[in-house]
């Protein structure tokens, strides 16, 4: 039960004032600018955009500053902001095959056309703290080579010719939108992918790892991982033609999974798919693994009872704003609830004590009778 309680306004105001002061920290230290966060903490900005489900680097940087670096709080701010925006429409599906790739690697095909392009990766670093970064200094310019001008084709396109990899059915159906229509189960893959794309990175990482450790194992290889920018096209209703309304950075991961075949499908490779705003590699790979695990029904696989196969479990718990909202609300005043619980427990204890006393009395009587 919720009962309105008044009071505490001054305490709340003062708490917010102190929060603002703490956010600023020691004023002898220079204040962070939004541009500094956007440029130098870009991966935090990317995570906030992906899970806040709104692509706008400056806004995400502002949210991180306001949230004092608490990324889930920052995501909360972005989610709240996006609900205030009128929606102008939806874009054409982005053509990731046309991506200007900063990075593009495949764990399955060494000699893929377009090559293995490492990009600005943490891979192959030694994970040793670099104390040079503690001091300010100029950064040397990265080397360059003759740039590739043509688009880099998707790796799965080469396997498709052999029919050895599952095809993605063509469709132009309007996808469901979980921000507009309440979830219902079973959800289509469109809703699952939307949910995973905005889901919590840590939660999806844990689930994806569980599939690798044997819970609904599906033998994933990273067929392709690419990071780069794509143009976003939208039809402008009043003009009657399509324009590019912007450009977004995306991370796309396609897994290739061993598949022995089922009653309905021949033996072939199956696919899992991850697509996330920004440079968000860990999240995109995790998304692809969980997407693949959730596809057991359409591929005619067995339900092994694993968490990653349980659509309702995954989709109901992947949203960190829903989760933290419900989790954190239990710290807010529940004085009346608790008062009633307290009275109940006291009553139960009184009854239990009375029962014990009665039993003891009975035992004593029985003892007396026995000794007589």
């Amino acid at each position: 039960m919720y009962v309105a309680v008044k009071g505490g306004e001054r305490a709340i105001e003062n708490a917010h004032a102190w929060l603002a002061e703490e956010r600023r920290g020691d004023t002898a230290v220079a204040e962070l600018s939004i541009a500094q966060i956007r440029e130098q903490l870009a991966l935090a900005v990317n995570r906030v955009m992906a899970e806040g489900s709104l692509y706008d680097p400056d806004l995400a940087a502002l949210a991180i500053k306001q949230a004092r670096g608490d990324l889930i709080e920052a995501i909360f701010l972005i989610r709240a902001y996006r609900t205030t925006l009128p929606r102008f429409g939806a874009t054409r599906p982005v053509a990731t095959g046309e991506m200007a790739c900063d990075r593009r690697i495949s764990a399955t095909f060494k000699d893929a056309p377009g090559g293995q392009v490492l990009g600005p990766t943490f891979d192959y670093t030694h994970r040793l703290l670099d104390f040079k970064l503690a001091a300010e200094g100029e950064v040397a310019k990265a080397p360059t080579a003759a740039p590739r001008n043509e688009p880099t084709p998707h790796i799965t396109a080469f396997l498709r010719g052999e029919d050895i990899i599952q095809r993605e059915p063509d469709s132009e159906a309007t996808p469901g939108d979980l921000t507009r229509t309440p979830m219902s189960y079973p959800a289509g893959r469109d809703i699952r992918l939307q949910s995973l794309a905005r889901g919590d990175e840590g939660f999806l990482l844990g689930l994806a790892y569980s599939t690798q450790r044997g819970y609904a194992r599906n033998h994933a290889f990273v067929g392709e991982l690419r990071i780069g920018t794509v143009a976003v096209e939208m039809e402008i209703p009043e003009l009657g033609f399509t324009i590019e309304i912007g450009e977004v950075e995306l991370t796309e991961c396609e897994t290739v999974n061993q598949f022995a075949g089922s009653k309905t499908e021949p033996p072939q490779f199956t696919r899992g798919y991850g697509l996330v705003f920004g440079q968000t590699e860990r999240k995109a790979i995790a998304m692809a693994l969980v997407d693949r695990a959730l596809r057991w029904r359409e591929l005619g696989e067995d339900d092994l009872g694993a968490a990653a196969q349980d659509e309702e479990f995954v989709l109901s718990h992947s949203d960190n704003i829903q989760a933290t909202g419900f989790l954190e609300h239990i710290k807010l005043p529940h004085y009346v609830d608790f008062q009633s619980e307290l009275e109940l427990v006291r009553k139960l204890r009184r009854e239990a004590e009375a029962n014990v006393a009665k039993q003891n009395a009975g035992n004593e009587d029985a003892g007396k009778e026995a000794s007589q």
């Binding site: 955009m49 489900s53 709104l54 692509y55 706008d56 400056d58 806004l59 009128p86 929606r87 102008f88 939806a90 874009t91 054409r92 599906p93 982005v94 990731t96 095959g97 200007a100 790739c101 900063d102 990075r103 090559g115 293995q116 392009v117 990009g119 600005p120 080397p143 360059t144 080579a145 003759a146 740039p147 590739r148 998707h154 799965t156 396109a157 993605e168 063509d170 309007t174 996808p175 921000t179 893959r189 469109d190 992918l193 939307q194 794309a197 143009a231 976003v232 402008i236 009043e238 033609f241 399509t242 324009i243 309304i245 912007g246 450009e247 977004v248 796309e252 396609e254 697509l275 705003f277």
Partner: protein, 154 residues
């Protein structure tokens, strides 16, 4: 090959400049516009408003569409004194950017088009091409060569 009508050509040209303006860095666009120095009289048909559009992806990169997440867009529409209508649809939350984009869209439909292209659109495209080429060149330098120790086509 489809026969292109004059209308298609005009539409394609307009698509191209609207797309360029939408993606342009705001500060660079505003600086070029300020240097150009035009201040045409206009009336608003729609004042700049910030909104969102839902970005879609495709399952497996090529399959059925799904909703990936939204992005911020600012739009406006205006009409010049001679009645020419200009639309601004730009990425982000820049109301001045949307206004300048709509003004340029309108002026590009007038005899001023050539001067505007030379003063604003071409330099803007140059800036943006240089930025993307610089990234592509860095990416190319991180391409793994499994066969030779030194890459040496140039």
């Amino acid at each position: 090959m489809a026969i292109q009508t004059e209308n298609d050509v005009v539409t394609q040209a307009r698509r191209d400049w609207m797309s360029l303006l939408a993606k342009a860095p705001e500060d660079r666009l505003l600086a070029l516009w300020a240097d150009y120095g035009a201040a045409p009289a206009f009336d608003w048909l729609r004042r700049p408003e910030i909104g969102a559009v839902m970005v879609r992806g495709r399952m497996g990169g090529t399959g059925a569409p799904f909703n990936l997440g939204e992005m911020t867009v600012t739009r406006c529409a205006l009409t010049l004194a001679d009645g020419t209508v200009g639309h601004g649809y730009v990425q982000g939350r820049g109301k001045p950017k949307a206004e300048v984009a709509a003004l340029i869209d309108a002026l590009m439909q007038t005899p001023e088009a050539g001067a505007l292209r030379a003063a604003i659109l071409d330099p803007l495209a140059g800036t943006m091409d240089a930025a993307s080429t610089a990234r592509a060149a860095r990416a190319a330098a991180t391409k793994v060569d499994f066969f030779t120790l030194v890459r040496g086509e140039d």
